[in-house]
């Protein structure tokens, strides 16, 4: 039996006390870890959203107003059935201040056999697209061929498999990284493929509300403007002849998201601070109260020849072990809750949410553990200091 093993023995002698302290520390760790991961996920969700949607304006058919929530298009990537004449694309391209404009065609299939949820098919023009391809190119080196599909990370089809859409079998050639939005459940193809799919849908008597040739429609036009021109270009688009379009400005949407993101982030931070303040008070009180009960024991150790430092060491090591255990449990619970429920959290918050990769997760876990293992013993420090300089003779004079 050596001094090194004494802290563990002390902890084991009072399992109830040890468990109670561990629970408090676990809460500390859980709140810090989960809170940090949440804040981070939201931030990277917004970041990926902004990066990906390089468009300053999105133009959708005016008829679809009411059905289209601009925030939803941006944040959730929810699409629908709405179409306008592709000639609008040329009109917009001609406007002064427009740097790029590219059309996208949306199709939603309820009959795909890949998943229980309806999948959205998004067709883009490889020649002009600037919002989807940079993102796809991270996963797909070669060109996207006719009838090839690229799937979002939450579509249940692996590369090499095929998805049937309106009777057409389309091979999955790549799978995208998570974005934390509804775009993760979408399927991407070229405009050419899309035209074929729309044709097939029509053949199957699916009501699509398209006038004319499916090859000549777009659902949305993504516009990149010269810096600072977004507002002016938006006004010009609305002044086109018979515009019948709605213009969504990216900035109004992302700034709205940023604002609510800041709100959520602030709430989370306040919660973390509250939990920590409470936990630190609780821990300090617990250690102090427990310290009183242990004065006699500590005096006994002093009598046997422990120095103040050694005695403080015993108390601090006890706190450290409790903290390590608590951190382990708290972080474990955090992982258990954050990873499987990322989707639920996202839909509950209604904000883009992108869980960090395992490296970042590990790093955050380590950081949390470190913080907890510093703070835990610090709270024990107060009582350890007091305990380590007792009036030994006075304590030993007290009857039991």
């Amino acid at each position: 039996m050596t001094l090194r093993r004494l802290p563990v023995r002390n902890l084991l002698r009072r399992p109830g006390r040890t468990a109670a302290l561990t629970v408090v520390v676990a809460f500390l760790a859980l709140s810090l870890f989960a809170g940090t991961v949440l804040v981070r996920s939201l931030n990277s969700g917004l970041e990926s959203l902004e990066n990906r949607l390089g468009a300053d304006l999105i133009v959708v058919p005016a008829t679809s107003r009411g059905k289209i929530d601009p925030e939803k298009i941006y944040l959730q990537g929810t699409t629908g059935y709405y179409y306008m004449d592709a000639a609008k694309l040329e009109q917009i391209r001609a406007i002064d201040g427009v740097v790029r404009a590219s059309g996208q065609v949306y199709l939603a299939s309820l009959r795909a056999d890949c998943c229980s949820v309806p999948i959205q098919v998004i067709g883009f023009d490889p020649g002009t697209d600037f919002t989807i391809q940079p993102w796809i190119s991270q996963r797909l080196r070669s060109e996207l061929g006719f009838m090839d599909l690229v799937v979002g990370c939450r579509v249940n089809s692996a590369v090499g498999e095929s998805i049937r859409i309106y009777g057409q079998s389309c091979p999955v050639v790549a799978r995208l990284d998570a974005t934390g939005t509804g775009l993760d459940t979408a399927v991407y193809c070229t405009a050419e493929t899309m035209a074929a799919l729309l044709e097939a849908a029509k053949d199957m008597n699916h009501e699509l509300k398209i006038d004319g040739d499916p090859a000549d429609v777009v659902s949305a036009i993504y516009v990149k403007t010269a810096p600072g021109e977004a507002e002016r270009v938006a006004a010009k688009i609305l002044k086109m002849r018979r515009p019948k379009v709605t213009v969504i400005q990216a900035k109004t949407v992302t700034s709205g998201v940023e604002a609510s993101l800041q709100g959520v982030t602030r709430t989370i931070k306040v919660m973390i601070v509250c939990v920590w303040a409470l936990a630190v008070i609780l821990l300090t009180a617990a250690f102090t109260l427990l310290g009183g009960e242990r004065r006699r024991e500590f005096a006994a150790l002093r009598v046997l020849g422990l120095s103040r430092w050694q005695l403080a060491g015993v108390a601090l090591r006890e706190a450290l072990y409790v903290s390590l255990l608590g951190a382990f449990i708290g972080i474990g619970l955090g992982l258990l809750f954050l990873i499987p429920f990322a989707g639920l959290i996202e839909s509950a918050l209604n904000l883009p949410y992108l869980t960090p990769g395992w490296r970042t997760m590990l790093w955050l876990a380590g950081l949390t553990a470190l913080t907890v293992c510093v703070v835990g013993p610090l709270t024990a420090m107060v009582s350890a200091r007091r305990l380590s300089r007792p009036d030994i003779s006075a304590i030993l004079r007290e009857g039991s």
């Binding site: 039996m1 002093r302 422990l306 039991s400």
Partner: protein, 223 residues
């Protein structure tokens, strides 16, 4: 090898008549030598425990010094004095002070571990045998009676063969038979070369002592 108290006194802040101090121990000169057993008696509250703890390096005198072979022990930094206590001193406190999370045997071997000495298992067992607690070696302190705890404390003090033994009423809860054993064990320790100080009310102890001192109202007188 000796501990010398010179003018060692201890006062406590407590209003006593005109003075605002209560002098628990008035300046005392006392020497504890290796190979000798010293017995200290006196009425309750006369300052025996206070003097013993000062000599044992646990209570700094408010005046005077306590030195070990010429070195003032209270001038040492805490770490050094603690190491000294761990390696060379052993105290049987007046009240039971076991380490609750260790069993009887571990308690007994703890001072040796602290002093980084080999665990004196044989010696501990022999001492436990003579005090009739060998069967309790695996028991936890919370399960022991007052007298058993006392005997454990005595074995713990003697097992590692310390140079100085300070026993404060080591026989307080013991029967006559065990009392006699304890005094003879303390005497043995002195014969082995240790300096032994025993505070006791038992006049039986005198026959084992080389010196007997009497304390009354904080003053030391030799019998």
């Amino acid at each position: 090898m000796e501990i010398v108290a010179s003018g060692a006194a201890r006062r406590y802040p407590r209003p006593m008549g005109k003075a605002s101090f209560f002098e628990a121990v008035r300046p005392v000169d006392l020497t504890l030598r290796g190979g000798e057993m010293t017995v200290l008696t006196g009425r309750s509250g006369s300052g025996k425990t206070t003097l013993l703890t000062m000599l044992a390096g646990l209570l700094k005198p408010s005046a005077g010094t306590v030195s070990l072979d010429g070195l003032d022990i209270y001038a040492m930094p805490d770490a050094e004095l603690s190491r000294l206590r761990a390696r060379r001193f052993a105290v049987v406190p007046q009240v039971a002070a076991p380490i609750m999370s260790l069993n009887v045997m571990e308690n007994i071997l703890f001072p040796a571990a602290l002093a980084e000495k080999a665990p004196p298992v044989r010696r501990a067992e022999a001492l436990m045998q003579s005090l009739d607690i060998l069967s309790l070696r695996g028991a936890m302190p919370a399960e022991l009676s007052g007298g058993e705890l006392r005997r454990m404390a005595i074995v713990r003090a003697l097992a590692a063969e310390p140079d100085f033994v300070f026993a404060d009423e080591p026989t307080a809860d013991l029967d006559d038979e065990n009392t006699a054993v304890v005094f003879s064990l303390l005497r043995e320790a002195a014969e082995r070369g240790a300096a032994v100080l025993t505070v006791t009310h038992e006049s039986d102890a005198y026959v084992y002592a080389h010196h007997v001192w009497q304390m009354s109202a904080g003053m030391l007188t030799q019998d």
